[in-house]
């Protein structure tokens, strides 16, 4: 069987995480959540670094800093929504009547 981009694509899609797709999937849900949060944090740190460099006058282009901030903001939004979903699910379960 030949290797086609589409068959590899589905494999890669299954293996990659939502953010960068370059870390090995960890087994448990908490681990997955933790690594996703770490990536959000990394994006925030890199955005902060770029803005600091820009303000110091030795940094990247303006658009590079702006895009970095935008990426961090979008990743945080996604993280926040996932967190809301998780907390919502927890509350649903905790309200179960026995």
């Amino acid at each position: 069987m030949g290797i086609t981009p589409s068959s590899l694509g589905s494999l890669a899609g299954a293996a990659s995480s939502a953010f960068a797709g370059n870390t090995a999937p960890t087994g448990d849900f908490a681990g997955t959540l933790g690594s996703a949060m770490q990536k959000v944090n990394d994006l925030q740190t890199s955005a902060e670094q770029k803005v600091t460099d820009l303000l110091a006058g030795n940094g990247p282009d303006v658009h590079a800093a702006a895009l970095s901030v935008e990426r961090a903001s979008l990743a945080f939004d996604l993280m926040l929504q996932v967190r809301n979903k998780v907390v919502g699910a927890y509350q649903e379960i905790s309200r179960l009547q026995f």
């Binding site: 694509g9 953010f19 658009h63 895009l67 979008l74 939004d77 929504q81």
Partner: protein, 145 residues
């Protein structure tokens, strides 16, 4: 292509157009420069773009298998326009030759202005693509709400 693929491609476009605007600005600023480090008048510069090699492994694989691949743009080189300088009679000028002629850069303000407008509009276009990508991501996040 991951979540921020469009943004990365558009960012390369923004960088490239900024470089183009920089080159045009240099041409405009040096329109009267009769002296350069290499000797002779300033030579008009032009920027050459090339499509950057696809960044992700999946895209490269797709390209190797014969399907079209997408990627950003990169500045290949900045080349000098070899057009002959404009000779102007200014005998009192320190760079004048024996006959009193001074070699000025062959720069056409109209050409530079249109190039600058093109760069500004292309920058705007890439910025619009970033906006569109951002809205697409935001709308996907909205699905979770």
């Amino acid at each position: 292509m991951n979540l921020f693929g469009v943004m990365g491609i558009s960012a390369s476009g923004l960088s490239a157009e900024r470089t183009r605007a920089e080159v045009v600005a240099s041409n405009m600023a040096n329109a009267e420069s009769t002296h350069t480090a290499e000797g002779g008048p300033y030579q008009r510069k032009e920027v050459v773009f090339q499509s950057a090699s696809p960044s992700s492994f999946r895209m490269q694989l797709a390209g190797a298998n014969g399907s079209a691949s997408v990627g950003g743009v990169a500045v290949r080189s900045i080349v000098s326009d070899a057009a002959a300088p404009v000779m102007r009679y200014e005998p009192s000028h320190p760079d004048a030759d024996a006959n009193g002629f001074v070699a000025f850069p062959n720069i056409n303000p109209v050409l530079e202005m249109t190039d600058l407008m093109g760069a500004a509009r292309a920058y705007q276009m890439n910025a619009s693509a970033v906006q569109a990508a951002k809205q697409m991501i935001q709308q996907s996040i909205e699905l979770l709400k």
